[in-house]
Assembly symmetry: C2
Homo-oligomer: 275 residues x 2
């Protein structure tokens, strides 16, 4: 479906988009990435994602020599070459071909397009099930390629008939492996953790839109707070706002009124009706 991939200053056929095994992603799991949506040939909230990508690469000392403007040109050229109007795009930056397999080298940059796989209509309607797991992501504020624990836990998710994992540590929840986590309290405050998480772009947009209609709190959420919550949902680029119907044995039985309202607001916002 996507014929072209950009890799280290050239556009290559998808099947030729390869890295030598000496790359530090393969040798040492070292790299960062970002992922955004393309709707009708336009990247959505591109500058927010590029801000984060430049932050991640800088923080991990993966210095590549493209300005924001050059990177945008490549992104738009790739969209045009592949000719798929609605999809996702991933920027991946790895540790490069290290001579000793440990020291950083000149990073490898890969820009690729992907089909978006949103949750099912049933998941949006009924909400999903999360299971909690005691874990804290490494360097949580950086979008690294480290998903070791999340992928390792997949059989556990499946055997619990769950959809995803909610990480917690020392009684405080942080995030899901690829989503941010929110609760709605009984007095209808919209609350999301502020520490030890990756700050999602969709999370940011939800906070921006929700702030106009609800009380917002960015603060720690304990496991006990969840027990007292009225609603819960997760947010991500792919999922937008996805209701949570159950966390471990706790079922959220009071409906999803606020979550539904926020879903509508976010769609309006993304479609530019509020901007």
């Amino acid at each position: 479906m996507f014929q072209w991939v950009y890799i280290n200053s050239e556009f290559v056929k998808e099947e030729d988009a390869r890295l030598h095994y000496r790359d530090l992603a393969i040798q040492r799991g070292y790299g960062v990435f970002d992922f955004f949506k393309i709707v009708t040939n336009q990247p959505v909230f591109l500058d927010d994602y590029l801000d984060r990508f430049f932050f991640s690469s800088g923080h991990m000392r993966l210095h590549f020599h493209l300005t924001r403007s050059e990177l945008k040109d490549i992104i738009y050229t790739l969209i045009q070459k592949n000719g798929v109007t609605d999809c996702g795009m991933r920027l991946t930056l790895t540790g490069g071909y290290s001579p000793d397999g440990y020291q950083l080298a000149s990073p490898n940059l890969i820009i690729s397009q992907h089909t978006i796989q949103p949750p099912s209509q049933e998941q949006y309607k009924k909400g999903i099930k999360l299971i909690t797991y005691a874990h804290q992501r490494q360097l949580p504020e950086v979008k690294t390629i480290d998903y070791l624990i999340a992928i390792w836990l997949q059989p556990k998710v499946k055997s619990a008939a769950a959809d995803d994992i909610l990480y917690y540590k020392d009684n405080l929840v942080s995030e899901c492996p690829r989503s941010n986590f929110f609760i709605v309290t009984k007095d209808e405050k919209v609350v999301t953790p502020s520490c030890n998480i990756l700050k999602g772009i969709t999370r940011k947009k939800v906070l921006e839109t929700a702030r106009q209609h609800f009380d917002i709190e960015e603060r720690d959420i304990s496991l006990e707070d969840i027990k007292q919550a009225k609603e819960a949902f997760i947010t991500s680029t792919t999922k937008m706002i996805l209701p949570v119907a159950q966390i471990d044995d706790q079922i959220f039985s009071e409906g999803m009124t606020i979550t539904t309202k926020l879903q509508e607001l976010l769609v309006q916002f993304q479609e530019g009706k509020l901007v």
Copy 2:
């Protein structure tokens, strides 16, 4: 120097040893590996390393279809093809070409040879400097490719004029990123942590040989225990036994008598003089 690399059932030229960018090591940092020495064309302690490699791959659900005997045949063929009598060999097994970038696929196996880079004679003679850092490796008992924190910390090591990092958590030390850690107590017990570490093959061999001459303890080591210690050293396949002269501000000034004795015993053991 090494012309051939084995990758997914064939021997290819080193420059052609590439993985497609969809591999889960590149996308999600998901993979395991192992590394052993080859001395005079013979892998050293091969079965110990293969035991660990099969454990790591099984634990991470990276199921590949080679028996131990088939894997050994490939290893010996590669040694012969490359014709380098003394070097290192690395087995790398990644999450494979995932259709959705998240689910495990058929793993990719890479077997490659590398120059061994032992510490300098000065490091062996004077001992190295470690700095402590609060961190616990993810899935510590598995030899995954996750070295995110270790590589990210390199500038910190350099600016402290140190040689390596010693991880600790909740006041207990565990290991260095690529080495196990030992202390020698004032009453000449040889002590090494037993929990939350990767159990090194060299660590195992040191314990086997040391047990015949010294009291051995595999138990938790606190930061306070280090303050009271007489000697300290680290062990790894590449380093064998490397004395530690300093940890943060603490200098080990009582010499390295026991460490030196253990170095001699390990060399004898590896050369088959004790077996």
